[in-house]
């Protein structure tokens, strides 16, 4: 079950932050998202392998904490998507699928002529779409 998703801009400025659990944990989740940004920077600056990885958008499991797993996804414009989940076994394909749909929703939200790049995403329909994608995460294992 996904507890939090975040979109962070290329200057590490938050563009969208949404938690899906009761408010008590919200601060802790935001803290986890922050820490994962460091992990992403590390991964991006020190690629373990050569050229093929440089184009990789899905970063995979960033780091597991006590109860959560954090997954990352980097777009070619250095916008980062972070997903925090409490699921113990997350299939790689599910995570990739999630980020693919999330990326599509993000692109549609950013194509709004009234959206200012670099400012927070204020689109209500983006929020609705993200909730739908989050709800269908994990349950659609065949899709």
């Amino acid at each position: 079950m996904i507890v939090c998703v975040a979109v962070v801009g290329h200057q590490n400025n938050p563009l969208y932050l949404q938690s899906f659990t009761e408010a008590d944990d919200a601060l802790k989740l935001h803290h986890i998202v922050h820490c994962s940004l460091d992990v992403i920077d590390e991964r991006v600056n020190n690629p373990k392998r050569s050229a093929p990885t440089l184009n990789e958008t899905f970063l995979g499991l960033l780091y597991p904490t006590e109860n959560y797993k954090v997954y990352g996804y980097l777009t070619n414009t250095k916008v980062k998507f972070i997903m925090v989940t409490t699921d113990l076994d997350v299939k790689d394909a599910d995570a990739r699928n999630f980020f693919r749909k999330f990326h599509a929703a993000y692109v549609d939200a950013v194509s709004n002529p009234f959206h200012v790049p670099g400012k927070k995403i204020a689109s209500r329909s983006f929020g609705v779409r993200v909730s739908t994608i989050v709800k269908s995460f994990g349950s659609g294992t065949t899709g």
Partner: protein, 187 residues
Amino acid sequence: MPPLTPPKSGDALFASVDRVNAELFTLTYGAIVRQLLTDLEEVEEVNKQLDQMGYNIGTRLVDEFLAKSNVSRCVDFKETADVIAKLGFKMFLGVTATVTNWDAEGTSCSFVLEDNPLVDFVELPDTCQGLQYCNVLSGVIRGALEMVSMKTEVTWVRDMLRGDDAYEMRVKLIKQVPEEYPYKDDD
């Protein structure tokens, strides 16, 4: 008399004209509206400018439409409206409109668009609630009809960006201006 070519159907018309990528079109229109808002700052002014732009486009568009579609002269306003909805919108926007809500005299009708390529991805921010985003379309219709001697008034009734379920514009024929010749016959 040489044989007249029959008027083309909407799909054939659409296939025969040059087309542009829909997203490019949508993003360009969005950029125009944004720039107008930044330059003019007043939502009403932007609405007027969009209408004026549409009017200028419409006056030129109607010639291209008549040349490419080969339609014959329309008998009455009802036929005009049908032609605009089925062929006009299809040729230039790739979508068809439906004509509804005719009034008793047959001078006023509504065009309903379920699908509108101008507004993909758009969400109106709270500061621009009075903005009629598709106002260019009403200008186009007004301009085009004026070039074929019909003075009309076009207003927006429903707008999906404001929460309605479709786009509806009301076109009212004010008068048909007969063609005036620049010289008198008896001179």
